[in-house]
């Protein structure tokens, strides 16, 4: 047991100093790209003309329906040969993670737009709002509150998904843990890796829950039912 703790206390700082940055950069880059891809594809599927919606749907199905690791290899190994575009390890990881999780995110965005009550959409028409005003000012703030739980889920999955980036030669947490196993044993190496992923996931998930509460607060969902009842009582009186 003492040996385990001694190994663990050696491995943990090593993983943090040598593997954390690749994991965090892959996650942050992947998360930003995931959001962009999800919004573009999700809005295209919901609001676009038929040809655009179909095109977005095809892209979503391709990236959702194929393996993340195979996509990673395509971007890292095949693209340089096909298009003479060499993104390097980190950008290949970011692009693959962003596209793959963005495809899932597109469904979250589409579903949330769908869940904004029909009356809200119709009122924007009745007030003659142009498309951009309607989306930016009325629909999006409501859809955003609905899509945050879905994005929370995806972001936590994305944290764990970064474990694949070692396959394109990034020295991330998983890669470093696999190296540390040789010197410090499997228990300490993978125990430390688990702990780091769990902490990152908890931070990400806490952040998203805070954003979710903020978005709901803006929609007035924090107002207790009692105040509405009180308003009705006052009006009647």
């Amino acid at each position: 047991m003492t040996e385990f703790f001694s190994d663990f206390s050696t491995v943990l700082p090593r993983l943090i100093s040598e593997g954390l940055s690749a994991t965090v950069y892959s996650f942050l880059g992947g998360a930003v790209l995931m959001l962009i891809v999800a919004v573009l594809l999700g809005v295209a599927m919901h609001q676009g003309p038929k040809w655009l919606a179909t095109l977005a749907r095809i892209v979503v199905e391709i990236f959702r329906g194929t393996s993340l690791i195979v996509q990673l290899f395509w971007i890292f190994y095949v693209f340089p040969q096909l298009f003479a575009v060499d993104l390097g390890s980190l950008w290949s990881a970011i692009v693959a993670l962003g596209l793959n999780y963005g495809a899932y995110g597109a469904e979250v965005v589409r579903g949330s737009l769908n869940a904004v009550p029909k009356g809200q959409w119709e009122t924007t028409t009745a007030l003659s709002m142009p498309w951009l005003t309607k989306m930016r000012r009325i629909i999006w703030p409501q859809a955003w509150a609905l899509m945050l739980p879905g994005f929370n889920n995806l972001a936590v999955m994305l944290v764990k998904g970064t474990a694949a980036v070692g396959l394109v030669l990034l020295n991330d947490i998983t890669f470093e843990a696999n190296q540390a196993r040789i010197t410090n044993g499997v228990w300490a190496a993978f125990g430390a890796a688990l702990l780091i992923y769990l902490v990152i996931a908890l931070i990400v998930s806490t952040l998203f829950r805070w954003m979710e509460r903020r978005a709901q607060h803006r929609l007035g969902l924090w107002v207790k039912a009692a105040s509405t009842t009180k308003a009705t009582a006052e009006a009647v009186a």
Binding site: G220, V223, A235
Partner: protein, 270 residues
């Protein structure tokens, strides 16, 4: 005189007084179901017309077609002489571009049964949003007008409130203020009291009575509040099966209707 002849005679009479709204051969189908078939009627400028009739008779569809919330299957709608969604060109029916439709639509406002206030905005923001972003008014100008309208609907001190802090009746009065903030020439009222507790109906109807008395806005009303219809309407149209079966002044419609179906309907609701 048959019902159709009565309708046409009345429509012709209305068209003489510069028509604000014209429905010409309007057809609306949902799949195989025809809701409106070759519907013709006019509403004069500044006229208050109430549409009554059983559920599914096409009254709400008429308002929704005017607000361009439904696609017109056939025929034409004119607003102040301008085609709304389709025009005649060399004998053909041509659909207008979205921008042209939006131009004409700006003359029309609508108040919905479910209020539909924007939950991400305060009462004041709900009212000034479209005047700023659609009419291009300055924030100060829009706020000034919104405050005036809130005073008019009896909610002058609730501008900072959130919609969920208001009762249904108050929310509906805000929705009325919001529609009026766009300075529409025509306002469509779609069963605006149907979702309210009975005690809250009076305040909303009083606001509308006041609106009818103090402005020359054209009003097209779908309601089950027959007393209100009688008080504010210049004309009442009785619908059944997507057709106007009786078109009369409110005192005649409610006291001495000529059509058997109208008599039966009014007996059931009055």
């Amino acid at each position: 005189m048959s019902t159709d002849e009565t309708t046409q005679a009345s429509a012709a009479q209305q068209s003489e007084a510069s028509p604000g709204i014209i429905f010409e051969g309007v057809v609306k189908r949902f799949g195989d179901h025809t809701v409106l078939n070759e519907l013709n009627f006019h509403v004069g400028k500044g006229e208050r017309v109430t549409l009554i009739g059983p559920s599914g008779s096409g009254k709400t569809t008429i308002l929704r077609l005017l607000m361009t919330l439904e696609h017109l299957t056939g025929g034409y709608i004119y607003v102040d002489g301008e085609p709304l969604t389709h025009k005649k060109e060399n004998g053909k029916r041509v659909e207008l571009r979205a921008k042209q439709v939006a131009q004409t639509r700006k003359r029309i406002g609508m108040v919905f049964q479910q209020f539909n206030l924007f939950p991400n905005m305060s009462v004041m923001e709900n009212i000034i949003e479209a005047p700023i972003h659609v009419l291009g008014k300055s924030k100060e100008e829009a706020r000034g007008r919104a405050q005036q309208l809130l005073d008019q609907v009896g909610l002058g001190d609730r501008g900072d409130a959130h919609p969920t802090q208001l009762s249904g009746g108050q929310q509906q009065r805000v929705a009325i203020a919001r529609a009026l903030a766009m300075d529409p020439e025509i306002i469509l009222l779609d069963e605006v009291t149907s979702a309210l507790d009975p005690e809250l109906v009076g305040d909303v109807l009083n606001v509308l009575r006041d609106l009818a008395a103090t402005t020359d806005i054209t009003m097209l009303i779908v309601t089950h509040e027959m007393q209100f219809a009688q008080d504010v309407s210049d004309r009442v149209l009785m619908f059944d099966g997507g057709k106007i079966i009786e078109d009369a002044k409110p005192d005649v419609m409610f006291s001495n209707p000529s059509n058997e179906r109208t008599k039966e309907f009014l007996r059931a609701v009055l």
